[in-house]
């Protein structure tokens, strides 16, 4: 296992492998996306309460899941980079931050667009949306810290420490926000409980979730390649890559 990890983390190998994987990943992503959208927008029956506006969950929920998932990946890869000094882990960690932030933003925007028809206000202090907002702030902190430090290696170590501290705090923040929202909102069913999931509604949701993960892999590989080229400017393996430019 370590041998593979070590081989995989050698820049030229990673660059060529990712180059070959990207087309396949894109194709897979498009197929899943098409299937998920068709399922979510067409075949899935309208929700008896929310009507067709519930179809926003096919974007909102996967985005929310991804925002949390990417933060975890960022923290774990940051930790690996910090402890074993594997350069590629640092690159994965820092390249994930902007993608995670964009998914969090997407979750917030679609959340408020979903809330408007239901409760008449653009912003609902619902537990899930509030946790999502704080997660967005955590992402802003990570990105702000990375941009503030010039040297790449130090910046990635700083981001790894912050992400690890963040990942420990996320459950605590989530619990306290849940408790806080039950305090002020009364014991009604939390507004964003997913509507009673009918099998035809659930399949597209899971398909969209997988599609979003594939999308994350694509965006991550693209950003990792950029970060790699930027850090390996001096090295010789870039020669034959530059020929093709």
């Amino acid at each position: 296992m370590m041998k593979f990890l070590h081989k995989f983390s050698s820049p030229p190998y990673f660059y060529s492998i990712s180059g070959r994987m990207l087309p396949w990943l894109t194709a897979l992503f498009l197929v899943l996306l098409a299937y998920g959208l068709y399922g979510g927008l067409v075949t899935a029956p309208a929700d008896y309460q929310q009507g067709d506006s519930f179809r926003i969950i096919y974007v909102h929920v996967p985005a929310a899941w991804m925002s949390m998932f990417i933060y975890m990946v960022m923290a774990v890869s940051g930790g690996i980079g910090l402890i074993w000094r594997i350069k590629l882990a640092e690159i994965v960690s820092i390249s994930s931050a902007p993608i995670g932030a964009s998914f969090t933003l997407l979750a917030l925007v679609t959340g408020s667009l979903w809330g408007k028809p239901m409760w008449g206000t653009w912003w609902v202090w619902d537990a899930r949306l509030t946790s999502e907002l704080i997660l967005f702030f955590l992402y802003l902190g990570v990105i702000g810290l990375y941009n503030a430090i010039e040297d790449n290696r130090t910046a990635s170590r700083a981001v790894a420490i912050l992400a690890l501290v963040g990942v420990v705090n996320i459950p605590i923040i989530h619990y306290s926000v849940e408790w806080w929202s039950s305090l002020h909102q009364g014991p009604t069913v939390t507004k964003f409980a997913k509507p009673s999931i009918h099998i035809d509604m659930l399949i597209p949701l899971l398909v969209m979730a997988v599609a979003f993960k594939i999308y994350y892999a694509i965006a991550l590989l693209l950003r990792c390649r950029n970060e790699l080229v930027q850090r390996e400017q001096g090295s010789r393996w870039l020669d034959e890559v530059l020929e093709k430019v």
């Binding site: 067709d52 926003i56 933003l105 679609t110 667009l113 979903w114 028809p117 693209l222 890559v241 530059l242």
Partner: protein, 52 residues
């Protein structure tokens, strides 16, 4: 078809959600792609300058 677009009266919210999602995800793919092309071109120029 128009009924589908109507989305039971929630057309604005549903389609703007999907539209924004589409834009954000598109941006997330094309920005690094364009940056990559630029990066390689700049690096090539820089190396040619150094060789001279």
């Amino acid at each position: 078809m128009s009924e589908f677009l109507h989305m039971g009266g929630y057309a604005l919210y549903v389609w703007s959600s999907y539209g924004i999602a589409f834009l954000i995800m598109l941006f997330g793919i094309f920005k690094p792609l364009i940056l990559h092309k630029q990066q390689l071109r700049e690096l090539k120029l820089k190396r040619q300058r150094e060789k001279r």
